[in-house]
Amino acid sequence: MLLSIPFLLILVPALPLAAAVATAALGPRVLRQASHWPTVAAVALSSAASLLLVVAVRQEPEHERIVPLWSWAAVSGSNFHVDVVLRADPLTAVMLATVTFISLLVCVYSIGYMHGDRGYWRFFSYVALFVFSMTMLVSVSNFLLLYVFWEAVGLCSYLLIGFWYEKPAAAAAGLKAFLVNRIGDFGFALGVFLLWTTYGTLDFDAIFQRPALVGGGTTTAIALLLLAGACGKSAQFPLHVWLPDAMEGPTPVSALIHAATMVTAGVYLVARCTPLFLASPDARLVVAIIGGITALMAAIIAMTQTDLKRILAYSTISQLGYMFLGLGTGTLLGVAAAMFHLVTHAFFKALLFLGAGSVMHATGGVIDIEHLGALRRRMPTTHWTFLVGCLALAGIFPFAGFWSKDAILAAVAEKTHAGDVAWLYSALYWAGMLTVFLTAVYTFRAFFLTFYGRERLPREASQHVHESPWVMAGPLAILALGALVVGAYFQWSGDFLGRDGFLAQTPSLVALGEKEQGQLSAGETASDVTLLASGVAVAGIAVAALLYLSRPAWLQAVTALMTALGLYRLSKNKFYFDEIYRALVVGPLERLAAVFAWLDQHAVDALVDAVGAVPRAIGATLRPLQGGLVQFYALLMIVGVLAFLVAILL
């Protein structure tokens, strides 16, 4: 191997970090409109390094390579020491390759999208910082550093969502994202503390290879707390409220962070901690239930949204729910399918978001599908790539989403045959199927309303609705190609789903493979599940075409039915989550904060002012002693002498 694994492992995060610093230092004055060069170059090199890393890890996938860098904290007297240690195993390699490749395409796209923006250099600096944080997140080998970079990606998300900070909605959205993430991070931190007190170490290998993992309540508690962190970061129920608002940020940010990379950090965490979840069936069930609920709920909400980016945001939440559903099955097929879906979803969701950005670029920022129509004539490239993305999302053969989504459903179907909670998994399976149908419907609803129908151009477009420049259309084409072939390729090569595949060799997941001896082989997806899912998806597309393309009267009838059932309003108002949270959490906290503000103003400040008032009072008492009258001074002198005499004589 020409380049060694340690070198590659260090290079992948170090280059974006250097680019972030360089862009921040040189961007404002020196580089200005050329500020994209450090970031694009760094991410391109990181991407190449990640691919080389995948090749290198392939040589010997069952031995993870640990690369210690330096000792961060060591408390003498106890065995607490935290080292900065990176690891290279198949799971890390897969995540790194996905993250850097998608980041590269998004960076190239941003050159065109953010062109002329006042904060051009700031954007690329933040993106490079994000890529550094995310690559480090998936490379580190202990929980404390994972937490550090978990927070770092949350910070970058906040910075990038609120990129146009002068817009109050964007600033509020950034704050909301960060605060909701913090709630999840609180659970994560508690989980890390519990890990420390239980195992005495925070290192991955030390924890996952313990022959007797502490079972029972402690493991469940740890797993649930880590799940809380994952829910916050991956926008699962009930911490999903930040992701739709995060669409206030620039579209490349939505594509990169809120579709392909940051929100997958939660999935990565649960996959990495598979041994912990293996030891706790209750936690696994909770993961699956949360995934199923989220998938269905988000799909229902997406049916009535009119903002294309928000539809895609709810779609992301729904697909992440699928991944959690897969992880919650606790089988090798489930976990591998979830990671497979992570990779394919990165491709087609980024594609869809960048396509939406292309539409926004052409229409002057309007993304409300009620104001758009028949854009396919003016923007053919965007139209075709968006179609590829929609087909992949809906799960149509042979696009990428078909393979991974069907693998997840097959994994859930496996669990419905036996076990005491088979009925629950059965319910989740049917929820998953319903979500497939709804996914197809809302995806193609958005597609048809935007690109077909009567031509409608918003006022802001002002006669220049044209196709995007090649710097934006290029990444779209590459991602479309990926959405087309990535799924089929990995299915054929067995990298993900094969029992001896690349991913299954990850040390944490090997235990899964050993556990299942006589069950369905991970390589074969159950064909009846596949047929049902494909049929449902095609039916969904047909329904969408019927309602939105040819029979508007039927659409009105369906809408009336849904309104009568009350579902329409529930869906349109996002199940009132924001209002509920405002009433239950935000309102009381604001009132509490008002109380404390009052106390601070009237009690604490009064105390401080009193301390300041004492010298003033003393001064005011002593000031009249200097009145300007000579005889008064003489009198004071005499009084002083008398006091002195009295003191002497007594």
Partner: protein, 149 residues
């Protein structure tokens, strides 16, 4: 010669009275020269006390110190009266209450209240006497010039 202690007490009493008078005078008078005068009186009281003690202990040290005091008082008189004259030229009055500017910024100045007008009932018209005798013949020049005081 050792004096009687009772005689010493008399001397000390007189000296104390002098000091007291001087003190009260310094504190209550507003005329700068009179204030200085009172200060001098205090000095004299102290000198008397010193001499009496010297006589009592048959020690000439007391009288020696008094000589010092007298010389000192003379120098002090020079300086004090120079100050008084300067202040009089500046303000036109010998009133020490005219000099209050060194007070604190927010203290009010001492302003004496005007005495209420004395109630006196003047008759509407004074009785008028008829002039008697002859007016002497004088000239302005003669009136205004006085050869000797």
């Amino acid at each position: 010669m050792n004096s009687n202690i009772a005689t010493l007490h008399s001397y000390l009493a007189v000296a104390a009275v002098l000091v007291g008078i001087g003190l009260v005078g310094f504190l209550s008078r507003r005329n700068m020269i009179v204030m200085f005068l009172s200060a001098e009186t205090m000095l004299q009281g102290v000198s008397l006390s010193l001499v009496a003690w010297g006589r009592f202990h048959n020690d000439l040290g007391g009288q020696m110190l008094v000589l010092f005091i007298i010389a000192l008082a003379a120098a002090e008189a020079a300086i004090a009266l120079a100050l008084v004259v300067t202040m009089f030229v500046r303000s036109g009055k010998l009133d020490i209450a005219a000099w209050q500017d060194l007070r604190e910024a927010d203290q009010p100045p001492f302003e004496e209240a005007d005495l209420p007008p004395e109630p006196c009932d003047e008759p509407a018209a004074w009785p008028h006497l008829a002039p008697a005798g002859i007016e002497p013949s004088t000239s302005d020049e003669k009136e205004n010039y006085r050869p000797k005081m």
